[in-house]
């Protein structure tokens, strides 16, 4: 019998009107990597919030047994004292502070009225080496990349003397190489005896790193898979998550009808918005045809978003040069309005930050990009607006009590649908979808894919930027591979595989 470090027994947590967790059980052994998977809203985060004391003892039913004793955490500090540290999905670092200051934020070294900076930075450096960072702890957070920031978060957890490390979607904003490095680090920690819980949507990563997988669905534990007894395939995990076998993760298009070139850029070069001498897009030439799904693959930071946003009315970048053709005619788009008028839509990767007004209802968000479509002489026809919002709610099967519901209260998948609705209502011919399925669950993903297929069937062009290789391969007709601001490969969907794409990226990186 292995050593049980943590047991959560019959945890039930209710919010007004909803049972978020229903008799959830979780057992974590010492020294293992335990993965927690489930669709969005299944209750993973709620469970971790119960564990860390964000929901204090007494606001839930059930017991938490940690190192053999029953724990009653009233605040985060209580659980941290025991060595339970959560690293949240959104990084909680202050960009203008140094790595060292961030690591000891709220846990300052030295005396109350005199921080011992030497000790702070000395200790910080030690932990940074442990996570494989060579930066000085006096570097500002804003000067290091997202991947390294994630590692700083882990170093910060180590500095808190973590014995149970909980990582909530640690790789969601990392590129493949950084993700891989992070997973290796987790395995390294395991060797040293660290216990970790990882929450992730990326099933391939979980299959790679986890010893056990607990599947949560609709607030209940469904099953716990053990590496030694079960085989960890993505299909097997998905089966547990959705409760049925997903035979086809990508809907097939019945007929392809690919026409003329709809949009083309030639020798497109974009400089960084702040560091203006840095090229983020370097001499890119590409095109997309009518009725085509064009995939753009590449690592995070390859310049894909920058390429898309610079095409979309110069909404990103500095000193943009090159030619842009729409339906064979050269155009110059100076702002977003002009891009929309030329029937281009850009669906952002950051739906909460750049896409939606969370405090406003679905109705308002749906019409925002095309207010003239529901108004005359600057006066909005609210009845028409409601009709439009209802129409798209039905078309995209958005789950919501009414179109007057605030978008902030919807799940990620439904928010994404509202964002798509907004841009579909702008009636574009060319849609650029930037990470259209990031952070949404398997079921909603499938629905988004169906929408994409409907769009191209209706003669639109879709440019899909995605970091998930299976998605790019499953959905695209043609694929561009981008790396370091350049296009390093153009592949037909039929010939493309994950290995070929990664190979192109690696070859291009070495070419320097």
């Amino acid at each position: 019998m292995a050593d049980i470090l943590l047991e959560m027994r019959n945890i039930t947590k209710t919010f007004p009107g909803v049972k978020a967790l229903d008799n959830v059980n979780l057992k974590v052994e010492k020294g293992e990597i335990h993965a927690l998977v489930g669709e969005n809203g299944a209750g993973k985060s709620t469970l971790m919030n119960v564990l860390s004391g964000i929901y204090p003892h007494g606001s839930y039913e059930g017991d938490i047994i940690y190192e053999g004793e029953t724990c009653k955490f009233h605040k985060i500090k209580d659980s941290e004292e025991k060595g339970i540290v959560i690293i949240h999905q959104e990084l909680a670092l202050v960009p203008e502070m140094t790595i060292g200051e961030n690591m000891y934020l709220g846990n300052e070294q030295g005396k109350k009225l005199a921080i011992d900076w030497n000790r702070t930075y000395g200790e910080a450096d030690k932990y940074l080496r442990q996570v494989g960072l060579s930066e000085s702890s006096r570097t500002l957070i804003k000067d290091i990349g997202v991947g390294k920031q994630q590692l700083v978060e882990i170093a910060k957890a180590l500095a808190k003397k973590a014995r149970l490390l909980i990582l909530d979607e640690p790789t969601s904003s990392l590129n493949e190489a950084d993700s891989q490095a992070l997973l290796e680090l987790m395995l390294e920690f395991k060797k040293q005896g660290m216990t970790s819980i990882i929450i992730s949507h990326k099933l391939n990563e979980i299959a790679y790193v986890a010893d056990k997988i607990t599947v949560i669905r609709d607030g209940s534990t469904i099953e716990t898979l053990d590496k030694e007894k079960d085989t960890f395939t993505e299909d097997r995990i998905i089966q547990g998550m959705v409760g049925r076998e997903l035979t086809d993760r990508f809907p097939k298009r019945t007929q392809k009808n690919i026409g003329d070139v709809a949009l083309e850029v030639k020798n497109w070069t974009v400089h960084h918005q702040v560091y203006t001498d840095r090229k983020v897009v370097d001499n890119v030439s590409m095109h997309v045809r009518k009725g085509e799904v064009l995939g753009i693959s590449g690592l995070m930071g390859a310049g894909r978003t920058e390429l898309a946003m610079s095409i979309f009315g110069k909404s990103y970048g500095n000193d943009i040069s090159g030619q842009l053709f729409i339906k064979g005619r050269e155009v110059k788009l100076h702002n977003v309005r002009e891009a929309i008028e030329h029937k281009i839509a850009y669906v952002t990767e950051d739906r909460k930050g750049n896409g939606l007004i969370l405090s406003n209802p679905i109705r308002v968000n749906t019409t925002l990009a095309n207010l003239p479509g529901v108004s005359s002489h600057g006066v909005i026809d609210k009845d028409k607006e409601i009709a439009v919002a209802e129409e798209y709610r039905g078309k995209l099967k958005t789950k919501c009590p009414s179109v007057e519901q605030n978008v902030g209260n919807l799940s990620g998948g439904n928010q994404q649908k509202v964002l798509l609705a907004k841009w579909m209502f702008a009636e574009p011919d060319i849609l650029i979808l930037d990470e259209p399925t990031r952070g949404i669950d398997v079921g909603a993903k499938y629905e988004i894919y169906c929408i994409i297929n409907d769009l191209v069937a209706a003669g639109k062009s879709v440019i899909m930027i995605s970091s998930e290789l299976p998605e790019v391969l499953g959905m695209s007709d043609r694929i561009y591979v981008m790396n370091e601001g350049r296009i390093c490969g153009e592949l037909d969907a039929a010939e493309a595989t994950q290995e070929i794409i990664m190979g192109r990226i690696l070859k291009s990186s070495k070419g320097e």
Partner: protein
Amino acid sequence: MEKANVSAFLKKYTMVIVLIIVTLFFTWKTGGRMLLPQNVNNLISQNAYVFILATGMLLCILTGGNIDLSVGSIVCIVGAVGATCMVNLKMNIFASILIMLATGLVIGIWQGFWIAYRRIPPFIVTLAGMLMFRGLSNIVLDGYTIAPMPEKYLMLFNSYIIDFFHGDGLNITCLLVGILAAAVFIIITFRGRRAKVKKGYAVTPLGSDIMKCAVIGLAIMLLMWRLAQYKGIPNILLWITVIVLIYGYITSKTTVGRHLYAIGGNEKAAQLSGINTNKVYFIAYANMGLLAAVAAMVTIARLSSASPTAGESYEMDAIGSCFIGGASAYGGSGTIPGVIIGATLMGVINLGMSIMGVDANWQKVVKGAVLLAAVIFDVESKKRAK
């Protein structure tokens, strides 16, 4: 279900209920003097500038909790310019009014330019404006007060609409206007409701619509009844009504209004939806200058003078009214009717305490506490909603 309806209703109309309670409280404390016809009349004429400034201030606050600190000083300098034109230069009063409006608008454009197109924080630009225009008005006035204003000018703001029916001790025109206004409001509400039902859209519960009509109809009638017992409808009420209706329409029904809310809700998303965010900021602040000029016109008419200290702390009254009226300190939410309630509440507290003879310094303490309480309430109830 019933319970949920009641609590939703209470939440939506909290400030209305507070206003009613506060009014009743002062009526009781002043032995009924609070609601004497003359005091009701004073409530309107004393607070006219607050209604006008708060309307403009709401547009600025909607863009993201941005305030305009310079409005008091703009009121002062526009008043100084107007008084100079009318009294010292003996210019035609309508030409003078145009000059005043132009002055306000130019100042608004000046500040709007820096805020919108150069992205200088509004707090800084308007703080600078507050100092600069206060100083400039002293220079224009040379430190003196100009008085009195021409009779014809005062007539525009300070007189009353004549009673066409010559009622005895009761202004019949005033009453008729009240009945008409209440009827129009009720008809509009129920027409909108019927249209919605016809098209199959969700409607608010009938009870809440009836309640709304009853409360507002009653409020209009009571107000007009009281005014009719005094001298009838003050001209200034017309000015306020027109401005409030125009801006109420702009914020709730037009694309410009929608843009204001969108920017306050999520500026980045608004920008990527093709909204020219710079232009929206510019419009909000340019408009604030224009409305400050209107407030200046009202102010010099009421005091019949333009002095170097006119308009002091007016910005605080306007900002306070917006926040008490439920505008979010982060932008993106708030309505004109809410602001009207907020301004009225401030006015009632002012008037009530003045009648009671409360020390002016204590009045400030109370007003400050009310403002703080209103915003705390707003923030807390939003937290609970989550």
